[in-house]
């Protein structure tokens, strides 16, 4: 009863019979059959094919009934009906026949084919099953559109011979694309099948008029169910749902008695199953849930006979589990589940009803000892209707009940329930399903609760090992949640199971936890547990836990006896995550220790149990990188490990800090407390040293821990300590004349001194800049070769002596530099030490070099002209804090510039000392030879210098690129030759030279402006022609009239309008202004001469 029949749960598919295919012997037929059955595509029509042989017999048709007036009602749903429509009565029978349109024996074959159709029609007499004929053809199909007269004619003839409508004749060319043809045929058959089911549906619907509500209540249900089912076969879910719903409503109307309640419940559960499944399929999960709720609400009180109460619970359980399965299936097909509504709840309910079933079975069946004879349940497989009793099949409630038979039958059922059903496994299975559902849907606590229930059930079925496994896991979770009542519940159960399973280790773990503060066990129970612990430590069996079944107790005690009587001592360790009545905190007395001093670990132990507890040994395990070592407590002798109620004791553990741990951290890994002695039974409790409960609160409510008082609470665990090397005996002294100057070899003097003799000292120096090594700075010991890093080795330095080493640094960029100086040395063979020092110095520029340009008249100049000499002056300003001496200077001119005179020039700055802020300049007269669009590079200036008052310093050479200058073409060059000064009223001769640098003939309009200060003789206004690359000289004689710095008569040059393309006017004016002097000094005549 609990299981639904397969015909109900199967997905209804239209049944299509196939004849004429010899799938065994004929390869072509086999290929066709395979195409129909095995190569179905997922989107294919919902049909099922059945291969029939030619002589297949269909179920006989029942005689048609005109009236239900005398119909004898025997039950609601016949057991064979669904199967009949699913597997026996085809909606369509398809005859496959090998026949080509141009077959030579056309006529004979036509007749054979029609006779086959006729015989099939005879076999299906009375049914409205559709018949279709498929001609299996070898020739290519006729192209659609091209009407073939023979084909049309013969097709019509065949249809007529078979008495078939033209659309029931199909052609299947089996050459290529077989699957495409079969899939099209499949859909065509499916259409025929839908017609068939619709027809059948109409027939059943027609019965309705002949029924009346009072006497045919069962038939109302049956017919509605049939209509629903036929619509399902037709794949019309909406209509199917409508009829099932009506069937369900009708069954609710039936007044039930104790005799037919089983049948009603069975059929109701069928209909409910169909309804829920349809609603899930139609994506109405809420409706499905509502329907199911209403269903269970209605039927939970229709329990049936009291003697068979377990049947009702089994029914309820199966309702829930079936629904859960449907729900789960829907979720697998994409329905989203939520945390508050998922199959887990229904599995859980199913498990609860299964538990009820078990309880009532235990209650009702306890006195049943034998199975009655003759078997009243015989023939239960052959019943005509669903849900009927085998001892009174087909009988309705109004008939008299045979009481003795009834009693025997109930006894038989009770016996079967008691002996054949494994209730615990059913419950555990359902709980297992529920657990996985709750896990998926993020309900960890619900899952834990179900696991505990599962453990209860294992306990009932006496599988104590499994109980322990489950509960030990759950205990860990419940401990973390800190729910005392729940923890106590789980603890009690686990203790009982551990006792019955005789698991010493688990029992001890649980017992130790039971004495702790986080549960609410009664004091007497705790005392009993304590004495049990002591018993086990003394190899005596513990007293049984309370509330255990007596029968189990005896065998458990025997197990304990045999276990404890073994000679080997029991030693086991209980490690992390253990909750006991002991709290342990440990701390290092200092955060840092020096090598070879004593490390002290303080261990604080508190007993939270209210009675005295005694331990045998205490040790601390300390970890350092690579190894761990265990140290016994040093002051245990004078302090016994006996703890009064709520007593806190402090123990010390001391050891030497080891050389190997230098520079690393050591860690308290474990504090081990030994319970019992090594000879019989010993339990080692391992603690992390953080403290249990206190630490937890600290983590959860860090802000309010200050409110708690008490010695133990206020202790802060310190589990890590650093081991440091001893103080160094070496001194490093560094001296230098900082800041260093850019480009010089900067000496740094390092002095090592030691207050004890050391050997093998290695001094290394490395430059560091922002953590990385620095490319722009060089290190050297000799000032000639570059070294990174520098290293010097001293074989030994005696006590109170010192050694010195100079390290040279050359920097190419300004800024700060860090020199890391490190000394590694050994005091003895083993003891190696090192000392490090970072020396910081800055690097500065020694001087700044600027370039200035002047005309030959010493006027500032911004651009030069080709072949026009000018003066270039380098200007050195000292910015170094140290005075510097210039040893020599030199200039290397740019490619397009030459010196005015080619004689080598000695530096005029040689030997000059410059202090901060002082400056020196050096002029050069140069002539540009080539002009360009870009500023022309003028040259590189090199200065060789050293620090003035440093004798040892090497000379340093610094090169500076001088500023570039614009150089432009000049067509006309001008030069004036005149004396440096004149005398008043003494004529002076002035010559002006005009040079033509171009390849053209140039005409210039020259004019001399009159001046008040001079009387002059010569050309006043003239046009001059200058040949290409030639020179022209024009002279004047001037007689100065006044003394002083007098401005000369102004020479004006103009370009004739037709020659402007040769010579730019503006440029000419520029040249004029630059090249010609504007003033001249005129001295006065001496008075004596004059008078």
């Amino acid at each position: 009863m609990a299981e639904l029949p397969p015909e109900l749960t199967a997905k209804p598919l239209a049944l299509i019979g196939v004849t004429g295919l010899d799938a065994v012997n004929n390869a072509i037929h086999r290929a066709i059959w395979d195409a129909f059955t095995n190569s179905r595509r997922p989107d294919g029509a919902p049909v099922q094919f059945k291969l029939l042989n030619n002589a297949h017999e269909f179920p006989t048709v029942k005689p048609k009934r005109n009236s239900y007036e005398w119909y004898k009602l025997k039950g609601i749903l016949k057991r064979n009906w669904m199967n009949k429509y699913l597997n026996e009565v085809p909606s369509v029978v398809v005859i496959f026949y090998d026949l080509d349109w141009i077959d030579p024996q056309w006529n004979e074959k036509k007749i054979e084919c029609s006779s086959r159709v006729q015989s099939l029609r005879a076999a299906l007499e009375g049914r409205s099953t559709k018949i279709a004929v498929v001609l299996v053809q070898h020739s290519k199909p006729v192209q659609p559109g091209s009407e073939d007269v023979v084909t049309t004619e013969r097709a019509t003839a065949l249809c007529n011979a078979c008495e078939l409508p033209a659309k029931s004749l199909y052609v299947l060319p089996h050459e290529d694309h077989l699957l495409r043809y079969t899939s099209r045929l499949e859909h065509a058959f499916y259409d025929l099948a839908q017609n068939f089911y619709h027809h059948e549906y109409r027939i059943v619907k027609g019965h309705r008029d002949q029924l009346n509500k009072t006497s045919h209540q069962y038939l109302f249900v049956r017919h509605q169910f049939k209509m629903g089912f036929l619509n399902e076969l037709k794949q019309d879910q909406q209509t199917a749902h409508k009829h099932y719903q009506q069937a369900y409503n009708n069954i609710l109307d039936i007044r039930y008695t104790e005799t037919d309640i089983l049948e009603i419940k069975t059929v109701a559960s069928f209909i409910n199953y169909k309804l829920c499944r349809l609603m899930f399929n139609m994506s109405c999960p809420k409706d499905a849930i509502a329907q199911f709720r209403a269903h269970t609400d209605r039927f939970k009180l229709r329990t049936g006979p009291k003697e068979l109460m377990f049947e009702h619970h089994a029914w309820m359980s199966s309702q829930f589990s079936t629904f859960a399965e449907l729900f789960e299936q829907a979720i697998r097909q994409g329905l989203p589940a939520v945390q508050t509504q998922h199959p887990g709840y229904y599995y859980h309910m199913a498990a609860q009803h299964a538990t009820d079933r078990k309880t009532s079975c235990e209650e009702l069946c306890k006195n049943v000892t034998s199975y009655p004879d003759p078997d009243p349940l015989a023939g239960s497989e052959k019943l005509e209707f669903y849900g009927q009793r085998p001892w009174r099949p087909g009988k309705l409630n109004q008939e008299q009940v045979d009481t003795t038979r009834e009693t025997l039958a109930i006894q038989a059922l009770q016996y079967k329930e008691k002996t054949t059903v494994n209730h615990s496994m059913i419950i555990i299975g359902l709980l297992g399903n529920a657990i996985s559902q709750f896990k998926i849907n993020r309900c960890p606590r619900m899952r834990r609760r179900l696991v505990v229930q599962m453990a209860d059930e294992y306990y009932n079925s006496r599988d104590y090992g499994k109980v322990l496994t489950l509960l030990m896991h759950m205990l860990w979770d419940y401990r973390g949640e800190r729910w005392p009542v729940l923890l106590t519940d789980v603890l009690k159960k686990a203790l009982g199971a551990a006792f019955l399973f005789a698991s010493i280790q688990d029992y001890i773990i649980l017992a130790l936890e039971s004495l702790g503060p986080s549960n609410v066990l009664s004091e007497s129970h705790q005392s009993a547990i304590r004495s049990n612990i002591i018993n086990i430590l003394q190899k005596k069996p513990p007293n049984p836990e309370p509330d255990l079944p007596d029968a189990e107790k005896v065998s458990a005690i025997e197990k304990w006896m045999s276990l404890l009587s073994q000679n080997d001592p029991f030693v086991f360790t209980i490690d992390d995550n253990m909750a006991t009545f002991i709290e342990v905190k440990a701390r290092f007395s200092q955060p840092k220790y020096t090598v070879n001093t004593t490390v002290t670990v303080e261990v604080f132990i508190r007993n939270l149990y209210r009675e005295i507890m005694e331990f045998s040994k205490l040790s601390v395990t300390v970890n350092s990188p690579g190894y761990s070592s265990e140290f016994a407590v040093t002051d245990a002798n004078n302090k016994p490990l006996i703890f009064q109620s709520n007593e806190t004791k402090t123990f010390l553990c001391q050891f030497q800090a080891r050389q190997q741990d230098v520079g690393s951290e050591i860690q308290i890994r474990r504090v081990s407390l030994y319970l019992g002695n090594d000879t019989s039974c010993c339990v080692i409790l391992g603690f992390t040293g953080i403290g249990g409960e206190t630490n937890l609160l600290e983590r959860l409510y860090p802000e309010i821990q200050q409110f708690r008082r008490g010695l133990f609470e206020s202790i802060r665990p310190v589990l890590n300590a650093e081991i440091r090397p001893e103080e160094s005996s070496v001194n490093i002294n560094v001296k230098s004349q900082s800041p260093a100057l850019l480009g010089e070899w900067f000496p740094i003097t390092i002095t090592l001194s030691s207050n004890e003799s050391i050997s093998n000292a290695v001094l290394t120096g490395i430059l560091q800049m922002d953590g990385s090594s620095d490319q722009s700075t060089e290190l050297s010991l000799t000032m000639t070769s570059k070294q990174t890093p520098v290293a010097v080795e001293f074989t030994s330095i005696d006590k109170d002596h010192s050694v010195q080493q100079i390290v040279y640094v050359k920097a190419h960029k300004v800024g700060d530099r860090n020199l890391v100086i490190k000394v590694d040395y050994s005091i003895t063979e083993q003891v190696k030490c090192s000392k490090e020092l970072i020396y910081t110095f800055s690097v500065m520029k020694p001087f700044e070099v600027t370039t200035q340009f002047y005309t030959v008249l010493f006027q500032p100049l911004t651009k030069g002209f080709i072949n026009d000499p000018f003066i270039m002056m380098s200007h050195i300003t000292c910015i170094s804090p140290w005075p510097i001496t210039i040893l020599s200077t030199s200039i290397e001119l740019g490619d397009s510039i030459q010196k005015e005179d080619e004689e080598p020039q000695e530096s005029i700055l040689e030997g000059i000392n410059l202090s901060n802020g002082e400056a020196a300049s050096e002029p050069f007269c140069v002539v540009p030879k080539v002009g360009s669009e870009q500023p022309t590079s003028t040259g590189v200036y090199t200065i060789k210098w050293k620090r003035t008052n440093d004798d040892s310093g090497l000379e340093t050479s610094s090169s500076v690129t001088l500023s570039p200058l614009w150089v432009e073409d000049a067509v006309i060059g001008l030069e004036a030759k005149l004396p440096a000064h004149g005398w008043v009223r003494m004529p002076i001769c002035v010559s002006y030279f005009f040079r033509n640098h171009s390849d053209y003939l140039i005409t210039l309009q020259l004019s001399m402006e009159p001046s008040d200060a001079f009387v002059f003789a010569g050309q006043k206004q003239i046009n001059i022609c200058i040949l290409p690359n030639d020179e022209r000289k024009i002279d004047w004689i001037m007689r100065p009239l006044v003394a002083g710095l007098v401005s000369l008569p102004k020479l004006l040059l103009a370009v004739p309008a037709d020659e402007e393309h040769k010579l730019n006017k503006g440029r000419l004016a520029e040249v004029l202004e630059r090249s010609l002097p504007s003033h001249i000094y005129i001295m006065s005549q001496s008075q004596s001469l004059d008078s």
């Binding site: 993020r442 309900c443 606590r445 619900m446 800190r482 729910w483 729940l486 519940d489 609160l697 309010i704």
Partner: protein
């Protein structure tokens, strides 16, 4: 025991701390207390999911009432969480069909007020069990015992 039926009867009232451990649980019938402890404990699953910030829309961030957490045949479980993650859980009997949202909210408001008074005690250390006569009285009033 004299029972005066309140208009809505709570069979179990629980206060759960922010660490999800119980700070106070009172059940009407102490014999079935264990089952109620389990029930209250399992509702934390749903409360946590509801409190998960990602699941909240802007409008109900200020809403402390969590609504119906679980509905079984014989009882309904409601939840409420303060801004400091203290959770209140009340189990009401399902037989009382006149459950209206507003009435349940009123219960929680009373409980919240009583809790606030209880933790205002300067000798109370947050995170400890609530041991307060006044709080007991308030809970008993909610349960309809007095």
């Amino acid at each position: 025991m004299i029972l005066i039926y309140y208009y809505m009867m709570a069979v179990c009232v629980a206060v759960i701390g922010k660490d999800n451990s119980p700070k106070y649980i009172k059940c009407l019938d102490e014999n079935t207390a264990l089952q109620f402890h389990y029930k209250v404990h399992t509702t934390i699953d749903i409360i946590e999911e509801k409190l998960n910030v990602g699941n909240k829309t802007a409008s109900d961030v200020r809403e402390l009432f969590l609504g119906l957490l679980f509905s079984a045949e014989d009882h309904k479980i409601f939840g409420y969480a303060t801004n400091t993650k203290i959770k209140f859980v009340v189990i009401l009997q399902s037989t009382n069909t006149l459950l209206r949202d507003n009435e349940v909210r009123t219960i929680f408001k009373k409980l919240h007020a009583a809790y606030a008074n209880a933790v205002c005690n300067p000798f109370y250390v947050p995170g400890d069990q609530i041991k307060s006569k006044l709080f007991d009285l308030a809970v008993m009033e909610i349960m309809g015992i007095i």
